[in-house]
Amino acid sequence: MSSSSPASVKCVDQWLEKLYKCEILPEENVKTMCKKAKEIFSSESNVQTVSTPVTICGDIHGQFYDLMELFKMGGRVPDTNYLFMGDYVDRGYHSVETISLLLALKIRYPHRITILRGNHECRTSTQVYGFYDECMLKYGNSEIWRHFTDLFDYLPLTALVGGSIFCLHGGLSPSIDSLDHIRILDRIQEVPHEGAICDLLWSDPQERTGWRSSARGAGFEFGMDVSETFVHTNCLSMVSRAHQMVMDGYNWCHAGHVLTVFSAPNYCYRCGNQAAILEVGEESDTFRLTQFEHASGLQGRENIPKSLPDYFL
């Protein structure tokens, strides 16, 4: 950590202590945290180099207590190195606490945790899917939301683990043949509605071959032939991505070239899915997929206040 920053080690440790208990930080601390995190992300690449060993994780979507389960399974930072592949916010109750914790960990241990951008780390998605509402509920104004979403523009888009595991939130793009193409993109912007950055965060693998416009309305669906070519051209062992819920927490497709990892168990309280993490060893060709279930018990959620949406006031 830089000692010239107003966020000292002791200060960030105090933040972490609160955040691990699922307590939000005061507005001023969040602003400082976002400012410091922005400095760190500014020095990171669109294809961030990550060393092994590392544990790779998928979507969290504000499921804070399930993130705690994840850390129980995989170990805490800095004992374990982590790479998160985006979608920290929206849908769940605790997007603020989740993203705050991950950012505080990044500031405290910048080389022990890598945080990529997901399609939900943007202004348009967070206004639709709940993060904005949560910020308003917890802070009473939109400033905090603005600080977070301004910061999201700086999150790296992809990572390369151990020189061979390519990690990103969504999938491949017809505009991108090589990692070098990604390196030269200007990523410091709102996620566009189309184009390479959009595709990297929105695309999905498909069973057919070739390319198809995505049923989601953004990004593409790409076939096994596309994955094979990309992996071969870029001397990769595989593509690790998130973005899609999977019943078992992880799902291999495209003859082992593409792995989906999803880390939000029992999604929307109904799907009954397991979550998973990909634990990559010192050698990037040794890895283990570990599954986990949603956190049981109320865990401090006993007294959920009755809040009324504005439409009924």
Binding site: G130, M136, G217, C268, Y311
Partner: protein
């Protein structure tokens, strides 16, 4: 105001049907949507049906025409296919791929099903109506379902009304029989094929899959003497009354499929149980529907526009004496939802919608059909004002 005799503005001899397509390509297009004929039609239709089911139980007496029964027959046929196309045991990501088989069958056989409910002179409408019907069961590729698919079913019914196949006397049955049947169908699809919530807002929305059973369902309970909003989360209440009330059936279904305390997994509904009256719940849900479903680009980008629901600008409104308190709120203005207030940038234009007064919107829908009707009290006497209007006419709170 006297109820005028019906005369349809739809002339099949001069109308060219088309196969509906997506036309909203970017959030900037939301302004076209919110000022379009399709928007007016859909909002008017939803509000009209809302009026039609106020204080009505499913088991009450109301007309159930042969056409209505035929539409229900279509839904029953599709539901039978679920038994004929069981889930498959194959490696899959989440949703069961057998859904794609059923979807394929609906694409193939849907036109014949729809033809059964149309008179011969309206057979040209089959492809257009069938497109909405197919869209209403979910997404074939992603094996998911959401409020956009529910909206497609509304579009199907709305188009059937526009071409004169369904009529005003069918309105209660459209909700209490047809839509109820549709809900049973999609719930079976969701459970059988393990369909994923499409674009769910999670704990920040009413429900992952549906919206209208809560909206129309709250109209059913509008003046209920005993069941108040605070009691709908109670198991005794929804178990005792779900057969008659869409709202309670929806709560029962949620409790069947979700895990954990209701206050946690359905926090918005839990909050709504704190609202004092069903009047307020209903008017709030109308505002919420316009903002959270009709006002969101991620939902509306998938909406299909054809010859009956078009993106053409809505014609200037001709206001009758249907509702008196609405006049000052009838200018085609933009209504800021709470979220849009600080961010009036083009990229957020999808959060902005014009305001609609309930009765005027209902009147607008009828006007599009070529009919003019007065809103009336349940005893049939014309009323000078609609009892829901004061709430619905207000802008989204800022």
């Amino acid at each position: 105001m006297d109820r005028l005799s019906e005369s349809s503005a739809f002339d099949v001899s001069t109308h060219t049907f088309t196969v509906p397509e997506k036309q909203l390509k970017s959030p900037e297009d939301m302004l076209h949507w919110s000022t379009s004929q399709a928007y007016s039609n859909i909002v008017g239709f939803v509000l009209t049906l809302n009026e039609a089911v106020k204080n009505k139980k499913i088991s009450d007496e109301y007309p159930v025409s042969e056409i209505t029964r035929n539409v229900m027959g279509i839904l029953e046929t599709i539901e039978k296919w679920i038994d004929e196309i069981p889930p498959v045991d194959q490696p899959q990501r989440f949703g069961n791929k057998a859904f794609r088989t059923l979807f394929g069958r609906l694409k193939e056989r849907g036109p014949d099903l729809v033809k059964r409910v149309l008179p011969p002179e309206l057979e040209g409408a089959v492809p257009e109506l069938c497109t909405y019907l197919v869209e209403s069961v979910g997404n074939e590729t992603r094996i998911d379902y959401g409020t956009g698919h529910e909206l497609a079913f509304v579009a199907f019914l709305c188009c059937a009304c526009k071409i004169g196949v369904l009529h005003e006397e069918d309105y209660p049955a459209l909700v209490l029989k047809v839509f109820d049947r549709y809900l049973n169908l999609v719930r079976r699809l969701q459970m059988t094929y393990r369909m994923e919530p499409a674009g769910s807002q999670g704990v920040w929305s009413l429900d992952d899959f549906q919206f209208l059973p809560f909206l129309w369902g709250s109209a059913q309970l509008y003046d209920h003497a005993r069941i108040k909003p605070k009691s709908f989360p109670e198991e005794d209440i929804y178990n005792s009354f779900y057969k008659d009330y869409l709202f309670l059936a929806a709560i029962k279904y949620i409790n069947q499929v979700k895990t954990g305390p209701f206050a946690e997994h359905s926090n918005q509904l839990w909050g709504i149980s704190g609202v004092a009256s069903w009047h307020k719940v209903n008017s709030g849900l109308v505002k919420m529907y316009k903002a959270e479903v009709l006002g969101k680009f991620p939902v509306m980008q998938h909406f299909l526009f054809g010859s009956l629901l078009t993106l053409q600008p809505s014609p200037p409104r001709i206001f009758t004496s249907v509702s008196t308190e609405s006049s000052e709120s009838q200018t085609p203005m933009q209504c800021l939802t709470p979220k849009a207030t600080p961010f009036a940038t083009p990229s957020n234009s999808h959060n902005m919608l014009p305001s609609h007064n309930a009765a005027a919107a209902a009147s607008l829908f009828q006007t599009h059909l070529g009919r003019q009707v007065a809103t009336s009290k349940s005893d049939g006497t014309p009323s000078a004002e609609d009892s829901t209007s004061p709430d619905i006419s207000s802008q989204g709170s800022i």
